[in-house]
Symmetry: D3
Subunit: 159 residues, 6 copies
């Protein structure tokens, strides 16, 4: 799961941070899917699905937040390269006492979009938290991870 040899690539002699050079990499179609889960109470899930939360329609707001956040990834994550994002979808699956947030991002570029997908689900989940915090201040965002990636020389993979 961990590939220690990768650490040899791009390391600067003094160990300082840098935005690594991707100019020699190939432009290819790339896609990534990430997930994050908001854990709350069944009562709050009912309020979300009924659309009766104090601040209004939570899923629509969180969806837009997640889509817009994908486009802000390179301004938020210091060493991320700006990418021409060609697709973003953000979906929600309410469960008994949780909402599963899933985002898929595509680009045609020299580097992948895992960070864009992760940023999208993270901000969507935070926007959900913001909508429910008046009724559940102890909600928790958990299991934020990449589910699948395709395109690029490191090969496709799925969890």
């Amino acid at each position: 799961m961990t590939d220690p040899s990768a650490r040899l690539t791009h390391v600067r002699e003094d160990g300082t941070a840098h935005m690594v050079d991707v100019s020699a990499k190939n432009v290819t179609a790339r896609e990534a899917t990430a997930e994050s889960i908001l854990r709350t109470t069944s009562e709050v899930i009912a309020l979300i699905t009924e659309g009766s939360l104090p601040k209004g329609d939570a899923l629509a707001v969180a969806r837009v937040a997640g889509i817009m956040a994908a486009k802000q990834t390179s301004t938020l994550i210091p060493l991320c390269h700006p990418l021409p994002i060609s697709k973003v979808t953000v979906d929600f699956k309410p469960e008994k006492d949780a909402v599963v947030v899933r985002a898929t991002v595509k680009t045609t570029a020299v580097t992948g979009v895992e960070m864009e997908a992760l940023t999208s689900v993270s901000i969507a989940a935070l926007a959900l938290y913001d909508m429910v915090k008046a009724v559940d201040k102890h909600a928790v965002i958990t299991d934020t991870r990449v589910l699948a990636k395709s395109g690029g020389k490191s090969g496709d993979w799925t969890v």
Copy 2:
């Protein structure tokens, strides 16, 4: 833990989203602390603490990312009010196979800074993921939650 009566406050008749009116609330000193955990492998933790990750010094980069993200909260979370943030600290505690990220945010304003603290730890954790993903693509960000809050009429609390 859930206060259903709160849902009566600020609900619009048509259930649509809005940035709720906080103009009548009192300006007071407010503080919030949030936490998020990046789960990876003990090998990666060693690379982080040695400072030998491919992209460089992970904790310094993630700390700056977290501090700057706190200031972007109201541009990322659609219904958040812009606040004059007066302090942000972001700290990391490396453990066996995880890094605990903790942020404290203060303001003197009409509304609280939980979302700022949560956004700060979330983006700091994502920046860490970005630094380690070349060596562990299966790292997971988990347990993102508010630990404590003070100031404001809803009273102080700690997990």
Copy 3:
């Protein structure tokens, strides 16, 4: 309707642009309401209200766009002062062949929020255009104006 004497205030000798000094003005509660109208076809209005447009739920997206844009006003309009916005609502009234967009913004600050309300309805209307342009590239955004303003020494007014 036009007050030529106002032009004497704040004019620099060389006529160059500047962000005028508002530091001596009083902090008061201020509110403004603005409106903008998207003119399209009755067929498109049906698609909007049915929620069957290609890019999805137009009104929810445009509402979030308008709320978030209000918070970006001082980064978009060069001479606007940054303000601590305390409330934003954006509403839509579909008519026969148009959608009326209305936004109300509040602050407690030294200067008014007309620009915030106007920016909010303008971006909400542009977001609507973006949603309908696949089915009506000739939609027009019109009648963008301030409807009412209160607070501040210039006095309250309504169109």
Copy 4:
């Protein structure tokens, strides 16, 4: 003028909003021109052309605002794709009691720049309003629309 068949493209089953997938579209040179009109009084037009407005040189400020806004389109309009803009011009034609704002935007990309041109004229017109509001609070921004578009598979067109 309205093409109802277009609504079949890209519609999600649940009708939710998404940034549509443009990754299979061709990279071509694309251009769009948009217009917006600020309606005010002849007296204010004189102040604009004399350069004697309170906040200073209105057209220069509004031109820069419009150019910069074109570059912010994908951060303002939730479902817009980020594009590598290759040209922006913003021009003003003062008339008897109005200023006509016109912007042309070019890109070489997979999708068109109508939204960029519209956002450019809208923000330029709002910046003008901001400059004149001290002398005419009833100015109105109107007739914001796309005048012409070229490039892309939907074909070139002009109003």
Copy 5:
């Protein structure tokens, strides 16, 4: 000129970066003036003052860039606090082979605006460089410094 005792204030035990706590400081009127100089050739100065540079009217563009940059200070400088800026002026004095850029910024807040004034002149000077680089790629930006500061407990000073 250097006050080593100041280093004792706000230092964290582990020496890591943080946005220092300003919540206990007094809200007062504060002002700062900064300067930066673009050194180029007398021929370029002539092009600037004639307004015949390739990209157009350099001083108007640089002035707007400087004013807008002042408002972006806390998003650019990691440890800066966001401040409600109440005034910004940016002025240019063309000399024989240089342009002197000067900015004054005011706020009523808990901390000073030196960084805002410095960011304003720096970005204004960079915008000027961008306008002249087609005719002088060896232009240099120099002597960027604070000229005067007032308000706050550290006392007023002028160079």
Copy 6:
């Protein structure tokens, strides 16, 4: 050093500002290196290298600020084109009473990255100033200039 003939390119008849059309230029690999110098006192240099400044680890913070600023260039400099940056490095060389800041930026695009490299060193130097201003308010940022450029039809050059 100055090429007056260049002024004939892209000049608009009315001399107004515009983002020049680069759509016909070739996409090539481009690189630029810029430098800026923060002049302070030897005592402050000691505090920087010891890492004992009030706000914390100055070089790590300024490095991240410089890398992130490179990505913000087109939002700060009005007439700059947005570019897909493929590499950024920011380095610091402490000297007796100064810190030399150097940044290298790469892209594969239709126009060069001198402004990105200059913006990167300027913001990194401002971030350093922000870290040292508590102990040296008279620090000066100087000699901000392009050191070398490669790629593009104007040819490679080094100072």
